[in-house]
Symmetry: C2
Subunit: 346 residues, 2 copies
């Protein structure tokens, strides 16, 4: 356990726009020592989530920012190698909020046991059987309250969350499931692989508003919004009476150097007695019963071939910043995860 | 019943911005004849509602626009003078969606019996015991789900709806009730007469955002939004976890010649897992039990001196356009109503 056994990605300075190599620094430090009530976790997988970009800003919104000089934070999967809490044993697999490093120590309560009894490969617990699947399930059912016959619009349709939401909406009996994605490749994947009726390419020639009018001649009941900005504004123009917008993320905002203009048509919420509801999956993570219900359903959908999910597992701790940037350039297919336990010294 | 017994205000052309005399035309016509299932109502009171300005636009949103050459529409109170529906008798007092005219004929189902058993003067049924009171009650309780201890922000605090919402929030046990209004006179009325803890003058020197931060050091649980635009954006900066924004009206939008920019900070809905819910009082008007519950409560609050309301009753059919414009210049104190039954020929 040398002073340099723990590799870490530090924030050297706050990025403007995309993250550059010069904004981050690869450092080495001593493996941390867990305090009473804490665990030491050896990290196996780092989850590349767009929201990590937010943590690099001075005002990320809902979490404390990463300090300049501090370790970048994000969701991880790992193995307990030292436990100072009776609730967890050495050798258990856990997931939770960690760091871009080989080892992380923290309160046992911030790590959750990986539901390995479902018997899937490890990366699956970062996707359909992890926070991605829970985000889709919670947002669609609890927040948007999808009902049979609803018409559903999902932005970021080929993304990790969006690809699941479209399929879950179909399973819930939606009458029409339309996606929005950037580029013809993503759109093709949305319809051919994730079962969307239609996927609108917002980078294509068609005006988004006109395309939505054609796709939803009778309007939209549910919007699952991953993007925000102009896409949200266009969606609000086609709301049906009592429509529900689940506001999951606003990727259009991440890394923006100026505030993204808001929708000019919130009046449509009054006209259609509709609502926009923001949510965070962290709100249900400690509701073990709700989580278990969702995961059990998701597992059965995977086993019966009704739910497809795609993982894009990369390797190499030293490549993490470049891999992370793929989230914003679209140079990935499926949930982006970095496996770091094969290339480490110890 | 001559061909000219029915005075009417017609839309001559669609106004740009404020309504000018040149946009409207005072005409006379024959008194209409009700068809089977219809009533003929002699109008006593015309309600001056900001939303009428919307009906004058080509795209008002949630109602068909008034046609150029057509009669301006709005809420009215009147007396049934001819009934071709068994549900209503001649002499009954009713309210409903009518016209800026002496007489209106229409389906009996579009008129509601005035709850005169509460024994208040007629104009009261256009305010606290009418759609204004129901809007405040429904928006605060059903939409915003106010709870004891909540901190509450109300824009348009000295307006008809806002003046009631502040008092109802207090009755519901809100811990802090803050208003926003334009001008020191309105703000004084909000605190001295309608019981607001503080009223922020958005036309004053103080920056709205800073004033909200001072008024709500721990954030806002409930926003009752009558105005929209910059006021909504400022409010969203101070939301608490699980905050609820009831979107009642967006007066900042009415008469605007360009779309009003939307809030740039909808991200705060995600951060705080908060929601914006649009509503229309028309959605509960046919729920007789819900309406009766609300009106019975409101009547008891009036009788016990817990709820104050102010009426600004004007007269003169020929003055209606100028009186209507007072809504937008603020040259009125209380719910603005025009009594038209004293100056008519028949």
């Amino acid at each position: 356990m040398t002073a340099s056994a723990n590799r870490q990605w530090l924030l050297r300075r706050r990025p403007q726009g995309p993250v550059g190599r010069v904004d981050l620094e690869l450092a080495r430090s001593r493996i941390p020592t867990p305090a009473d009530g804490e665990l030491l976790v050896r990290i196996k997988l780092l989850c590349m989530d767009p929201t990590i970009r937010n943590f690099m800003d001075a005002d990320p919104g809902y979490k404390a920012p990463v300090a300049v000089g501090g370790v970048i934070r994000g969701m991880v999967v790992g193995e307990v190698v030292e436990s100072r809490d009776p609730a967890r044993s050495v050798g258990e697999l856990v997931w939770g909020f960690g760091e871009w490093s080989d080892y992380v120590a923290g309160p046992a309560a911030q790590f959750f046991a990986l539901p390995t009894h479902f018997g899937h490969p490890l990366p699956t617990y970062t996707h359909a059987l992890g926070t991605i699947g829970l985000t889709a399930h919670y947002g669609l059912h609890d927040v948007a309250r999808v009902r049979p016959g609803d018409t559903v619009l999902v932005s970021g349709a080929a993304g990790a969350v969006g690809s699941l939401v479209g399929q879950m909406a179909r399973i819930a009996g939606a009458s029409r499931v339309i996606g929005i994605a950037g580029g013809s490749d993503k759109c093709r994947r949305a319809t051919e692989r994730y079962g969307y009726d239609v996927c609108i390419d917002y980078k294509g020639d068609t005006a988004l508003d006109a395309a939505l009018g054609e796709a939803f001649p009778n309007g939209i009941d549910v919007v699952f919004e991953n993007v925000g900005g102009a896409i949200l504004e266009a969606a609000l123009n086609h709301l049906r009476k009592n429509a529900r917008v689940a506001l999951c993320g606003m990727i259009a905002r991440y890394g923006a150097t100026e505030p993204v203009p808001g929708p000019r048509n919130l009046w449509n919420l009054v006209v259609n007695t509709a609502r926009i509801q923001g949510f965070l999956v962290s709100d249900i993570l400690r509701d073990a019963a709700r989580v278990d219900t969702a995961l059990t359903e998701i597992d059965s959908w995977i086993r019966t071939g009704r739910l497809r999910y795609d993982l894009d597992v990369r390797t190499g701790f030293e490549n993490v910043p470049d891999i992370f940037n793929c989230l914003f350039t679209g140079a990935h297919t499926g949930r982006l995860v970095v496996q770091i336990d094969q290339d480490r010294a110890s």
